[in-house]
């Protein structure tokens, strides 16, 4: 195994142990990095720069999968493709019908809003992005997208699929971006119950089948099966996109607050194509008027 004489620096029985000082310094460095990274926003810029460097690596790693897709497409039976095509057409028709109904409702809604002069029309525009087929970390709720700032993506853009909200863009490179899912423990999303407009915040739990809604009032009007929609409060998502469905409610008698669990409606990372919607303008109470500067007290007033 060892060819004596071929290595000058590592004799068979090299004494001493690896540098403990070096270990301590490197560990401290790593821990500092982690702490800095926990403070959101500090290292995001670094990460976005790094995306330029790592782009070719992702491309290389996704190559087998892309090749497999091409191969599959080449050998799939025409009939299977026709079948898929038909199913998609059907789905499109269904969605379009639904959409035209919604549009009518939306117009009616806009007219009502115009009456109270609060109308601010948010047409849903967005960029179609694709999830890059890579394993980043099977136990974390993260995605890599194939579009970046060149396609108009920004940090904080919302990601939705046909069924609902998927996540948010967390770091943007020129041609790729990282996103976190709504089920990530670091994600929180303002939601409202479609049935009665009760507002709450849905937190990710790290479990792909559950969102958590903690700290609800004990008498909150919530039922299993209620649908949660986005509100425009966070400024990240257009209002009214489905998020989740309430799956369980706990009202412990010995606690001050009730808690609810909800099942995400979207396909999360399962759907390969997503729509990235840009952040909407903040719609909220107007900025407080700047109070006129007080005259300095110590100056004698002119009579």
């Amino acid at each position: 195994m060892i060819a004596p004489g071929s290595q000058t620096q590592a004799p068979l029985f090299a004494g001493g142990r690896p540098g403990t000082l070096k270990l301590v310094v490197l560990l401290a460095l790593a821990i500092m990095l982690m702490l800095a990274d926990r403070q959101r926003g500090f290292l995001v810029a670094v990460r976005e720069r790094a995306l330029v460097l790592t782009q070719p690596v992702y491309w290389l790693a996704a190559l087998p999968s892309a090749g497999w897709q091409t191969l599959r497409l080449a050998v799939t039976e025409r009939s299977a493709l026709a079948e898929e095509n038909r199913a998609l057409r059907e789905q499109l028709l269904q969605v379009q019908t639904e959409l035209s109904q919604r549009r009518a409702e939306g117009e009616a809604h806009a007219r009502t809003l115009a009456l109270v002069e609060a109308a601010r029309h948010h047409a849903l525009r967005g960029t179609l992005v694709r999830i890059v087929d890579l394993d980043l970390d099977p136990f974390r709720q993260r995605l890599l997208l194939d579009r970046g700032s060149n396609a108009g993506l920004n940090r904080g853009d919302g990601l939705i699929d046909v069924q609902g909200v998927v996540g948010q863009v967390s770091a943007v490179g020129p041609d790729s971006a990282f996103a976190i899912l709504i089920t990530d423990p670091n994600h929180a999303l303002p939601v409202e119950v479609s049935r009665n407009g009760v507002k709450s915040i849905a937190y990710g739990t790290g479990d792909a089948t559950r969102l958590s809604l903690p700290n609800l009032p004990q008498n909150v009007d919530l039922q299993v099966g209620d649908r949660l929609l986005t509100t425009a409060i966070g400024g990240r998502f257009p209002a009214g996109v489905p998020v989740a469905e309430i799956s369980a409610i706990e009202r412990p008698t010995d606690a001050a607050f009730a808690q609810a669990w909800a099942r995400p409606l979207s396909g999360l990372a399962r759907n390969r194509e997503l729509l990235a919607v840009p952040q909407i303008e903040w719609v909220g109470p107007p900025e407080p008027a700047v109070p006129p500067p007080r005259p300095p007290l110590d100056e004698p007033q002119e009579p």
């Binding site: 000058t8 790593a30 982690m34 990460r47 980043l136 974390r140 770091a171």
Partner: protein
């Protein structure tokens, strides 16, 4: 100096392969069973060629893994530094173990790495991972002999070639 440079080049290539391997998409049920090849490669070079695989390199490649996988920056760096430190610390004993016993030691190293991983996850607010999370160390142990033999074979062949060229 020459054989050292050759080993170094091989070290870089092996690390690059390991980093790429972790990114390769597999069906989700298989993805959780992926062995941590980066840890195995670093452990191999720490055992057999500690002059190329020091703590500094472990930190650097760990950081590369963090950047690539989009995780917490410094997480893999910390884990890899500890793994390589332990390997270097017990290197003289580990090297003369028969390969199956070495695999057992590697299992202990990987398990320790997994525990560290869990610890960092929990501290950074993640939920307790599913049971499958613990599948990676035994698989790493099963893969170790093959990784070891492959890298050893490659290294020996390279050295022979160099000797032939020198003659």
């Amino acid at each position: 100096m020459r054989p050292l440079r050759g080993t170094y080049r091989m070290f870089l290539a092996a690390v690059a392969c390991a980093l790429l391997f972790a990114l390769l998409p597999l069906p989700t049920s298989l993805a959780v069973m992926k062995p941590m090849l980066l840890a195995l490669v670093l452990a191999y070079f720490a055992l057999e060629a500690p002059e190329v695989a020091g703590l500094g390199h472990a930190f650097l490649f760990g950081l590369a893994a963090d950047v690539l996988y989009g995780g917490l920056l410094g997480e893999h760096a910390l884990r890899m530094v500890i793994l390589v430190y332990l390997t270097l610390r017990f290197r003289h004993r580990l090297r003369f173990f028969p390969i199956w016993q070495q695999a057992g030691a590697v299992f202990a190293l990987l398990l320790n790495d997994r525990v560290l991983d869990l610890w960092i996850r929990l501290l950074s607010g993640s939920a307790w991972p599913p049971l499958l999370f613990w599948l990676s160390p035994p698989i790493g142990m099963a893969v170790w002999p093959w990784v070891f033999l492959l890298l050893d074979g490659l290294r020996l062949r390279r050295r022979q070639q160099q000797r032939e060229r020198a003659n």
